[in-house]
């Protein structure tokens, strides 16, 4: 089944994103709380879309992004959307170098989330 991976250390944000996207486009939703979990889960479920927070304990989103891109499976081709804090231009540049495709600034618009998933479906 096609899947979407939601990565954020804040369970509130994970719950919000997954509730927003539930049953929208027939994707299975997976959640991870940090970069290490995200990389492991990505190699398992080969998501087509990854929402990736940047500031996380243990491994941040930028490093996770780089490692997902290096995987020799379907996950490497995922659309990776970074969730960034406003005004963090430096992070954006680093994330782009690490292979991020798109950026959503927090607080993000739920409609943008839905459109992204809808376009992919």
């Amino acid at each position: 089944m096609r899947s979407v991976l939601i990565v954020d250390d804040d369970p509130f944000i994970r719950k919000l994103v997954s509730t927003t996207l539930e049953d929208v486009a027939g994707f299975r939703l997976h959640e991870a709380a940090n970069g290490i979990e995200a990389v492991e889960l990505a190699s398992e479920v080969h998501p087509e879309l990854v929402f990736l927070d940047i500031d996380m304990p243990r491994m941040d989103g930028i490093e996770a992004c780089r490692l997902i891109r290096e995987q020799d499976n379907g996950a490497a081709k995922a659309t990776i959307v970074m969730l960034t804090a406003a005004g963090a231009q430096e992070n954006e540049t680093r994330a782009r170098t690490a292979g991020a495709d798109l950026f959503l600034t927090k607080p993000f618009s739920p409609l943008d989330l839905l459109r992204l998933v809808d376009e992919l479906a």
Binding site: D10, F12, I13, L16, K106, P107, F108, S109, P110, L111
Partner: protein, 250 residues
Amino acid sequence: MEDMPGKGTITDVSVLQERLATVERSAAEKEQQLERYAADLRETFKRERERRHELRRSYMATVRALCNAVEARDAYTGKHAERVAAYGMEIARVLDAPFCDDPEVEFGFLLHDVGKVAVPDSILWKPEPLTPEERTLMERHSLVGWEILREIDFLGEAKLVVRHHHERWDGAGYPDGLAGDAIPLAARVFSVADVLDALTTIRPYRPPSPLAVARDMIAESSGTQFDPEVVDAFMQIPLTRLDDIRREVG
């Protein structure tokens, strides 16, 4: 409080302050995120409402276009469909019928004769009484109308009005010969409104009757052609109100 090592206390306080700051920051972020959801929800609702109105307007325009196409052929009936729709909705309001605020049913009133597009001019405009064969062809218009509209979902109940607008309370009508409550209420209401307008407008074969005369004629057919309850409701409408409706539509 008992004595504690001073340094330890200061460290504890600064750690707690730092944690508090983190919690507060996180709470503020959640709040902003929820506000964003609320804003999107509001915008989505507004857009959805506009679309609903737009859709309603295009439904109405579509129904009117179809209705005009039917009436364009028949110089005598003029705004017959619109008058009948207005009379019908007035009766529905007095009856307190479940559909009295339902635009679908009004659409059905407006489109009742759409099947006449399949009736040849020679029959539609014939001033003399129709032969049995011609009558059969003429009477097909209820079923033809229903067939024409069958696939249009938004017309819902309206299609039943189109199909059954010539049924009679005593079962002697067409196309299905339904009797009594088996005839949809909207169609029972419609037939009173239809006859009222037919009697009060000029036809090739007779002059128009005054409203009061037409009303008495309808009362005489209560229980045979018409549902007695619908006729009772109709009789409660003051003649002046019926006259106003006729003038308003034109």
